[in-house]
Amino acid sequence: MAVSAMMKLTLGPIAYHWPAGMRRDFYARIADEAPIDEVYLGEVICSKRAPFHDSDLPATIERLERAGKRVIVSTLAEVMLRRERKATEAIAAMETPEIEVNNAAGLWSRGQRPHRIGPFMNAYNEATIAWMAGQGATHVCLPPELPGPAIAVAAQSARTLDLGVEVQVFGRASLAVSARCYHARAHGRTRDNCLFVCEDDPDGMPLSTRDGAALLRVNGIQTQSESYVALSSELPELGAMGVTHARLMPQDVDMVKVAEIFDALRCEQATPQQAEAKLAATCKGAGFSNGFFHGVAGYRRIAHRAAGEH
């Protein structure tokens, strides 16, 4: 059996301001149909959005757990305002389900109680991972920009400490967060009077260069990549490095299909070439990138080399 067959497939938290109904339908399908092992819930990007879907959280957790998924609640990446501090504290106080911390404020509130380390926590190296493990971390999601050789070293040390190790293998890369809302700014508003204009862009608002190259996506205070990260060919290598969890970030595409494609890959029921063709058909119009993994500009796509090729 391939090492990658042991890997768990996870679904990251929804980064966008999807309406409550869309979220409910989305998670119902994930629960019923997707070969996903673990699901991260909760608002990670903008504290103003949370009231729209917080009340659905218990039912969603219950629905997913009933379908056999492990559920983890993630905290905000940016914590500054009183409501953000309160929201982080509230999640840090939860006994169940598991939580994923994305800001040091959450680490402070959580103390030594078990928690996962989210991708915004900057766990770049073995020293930091060892420190976090000593403080109660059970699992670490590595930053998306970490190149392959560093992932290998980080995963090795995390495994020695008996931590789960997660890498994003699908979806737009988070490239920056800010205190300013760029969605509001694009519409001549400020964050305080944004009127939730980010809801209009369920897969982010495209930003192109002035000569027409699609470059970035705006999602409220977050800036994302235009292309989707796709570490499909790299999945076996990630498994061999000791990465235990592969994260799919929810995009406005058929995520059940995406999960099926990665499931087939990890079980070696599909070749990377087949997976890539299926991903392209499922995510029409999207570009794919794997530059970060290969230590080059993130937007680039390095072609898969079959074994024996040079």
Partner: protein
């Protein structure tokens, strides 16, 4: 240096990209100077800048003889497998006699706290600690004595934080005004393959080009992507990704999607910041010339001394430093900035 040397409010923390700039800053009245080694261990790893271990040692002597302190920036995030470079830099900093280390990575902070327990730690803006809880985390675990606050807080918010944390506060008051949460930005790596967090690089000059088009207009590019374009009679700006102009579906004309190319200047807010309990004022610009450092540092020196003496500072001089350029008080003045 003792703890009490760090105790006077209104400490001016000034940039030094080179030993010569360090001497200039000290002579112009800097209380502290911050600098870094010539490698990836600091967030201004630019060609032609920074210090060798020997240069750092002699610079520390120069500063100490004149009553100034030297703060060493070790504020990048070592990628797994390369932590030794940061550990070596910490040991070299201790050997050179620096007065504090400015750190962001928890592994680096933990290493210094454990291996060099006498060393004083400042939390870099790159750690993005923007709440009392986050700041306390670093104080409790690593003994951090000062936090450099992200440039996203209003003065009332800073005043509030001051009452809830056990350490000093340093804020940026002048210079380049970054818009993204520091330490959480991979934009440069996305376009160039060099990382701000891991390599200390932001919009690297080696990947900048200026392309003139047939109509005389100029494009400033990074990694081959057009970050902004300028008519033939405009001055082409440096292609910093978060200061570029882009096109969105309903902004077909191109607009500053993140921020205009403005400079931070909090001269007018100095008295209020001191009153809010800000301990140290940081001037950005390790990449700047000696004459720039001399002018900015000496102007702020006079202003801070005037405020300390209970006099009205000649703020017009400071405001004039950025005259002709666009300037902002950013988030410090109003949360409408967000």
């Amino acid at each position: 240096m003792t703890e009490s040397d760090f105790s006077q409010a209104g400490e001016l923390v000034c940039p030094a990209g080179t030993p010569a700039a360090l001497r200039t800053a000290v002579d112009a009245g800097a209380d502290s100077v911050y600098c870094g080694f010539r490698n990836a261990t600091n967030a201004r790893n630019f060609p032609g800048l920074n210090f060798s271990p020997d240069e750092l040692a002699s610079s520390v002597s120069y500063a100490h003889r004149r009553g100034a302190k030297v703060l060493l920036a070790l504020n990048t995030y070592p990628p797994a497998g390369q932590t030794e470079l940061w550990r070596q830099a910490a040991a070299q900093g201790v050997a050179a006699g620096v007065d504090a280390f400015i750190v962001a990575d928890m592994g680096v902070a933990q290493h210094i706290a454990e291996t060099h327990p006498q060393a004083r730690l400042h939390l870099s803006v790159q750690a993005a600690a923007s709440s009392p809880e986050a700041i306390r985390y670093y104080c409790d675990h690593f003994g951090v004595k000062r936090v450099v606050l992200p440039r996203i807080l209003t003065i009332p918010e800073i005043r509030q934080i001051r009452t809830e944390i056990p350490c000093e506060i340093e804020t940026f008051i002048f210079g380049n005004h970054g818009l993204m949460v520091e330490g959480r930005c991979s934009l440069t790596n996305w376009l160039t393959g060099q990382s701000t967090n891991m390599d200390g690089v932001c919009s690297p000059a080696a990947q900048v080009s200026y392309e003139r088009d047939a109509d005389g207009s100029m494009r400033s590019c990074l990694g081959g992507f057009t970050i902004d374009s300028f008519a033939s009679d405009e001055t082409a700006g440096y292609p910093t990704i978060c200061k570029g102009r882009y096109v969105a579906p309903h902004r077909a004309e191109g607009y500053y999607a993140f921020e205009e190319p403005v400079s931070l200047n909090l001269a007018r807010l100095l008295p209020e910041l001191m009153d809010a309990g800000v301990h140290a004022f940081k001037i950005e610009g390790r990449q700047r010339s000696k004459s720039y450092v001399r002018q900015v540092v000496s102007s702020f020196r006079r202003a801070v001394d005037a405020i300390r003496a209970g006099e009205d500072p000649a703020l017009a001089d400071l405001v004039a430093l950025t005259e002709g350029q666009k300037q902002t008080q950013g988030a410090f003045e109003t949360k409408k900035w967000r």
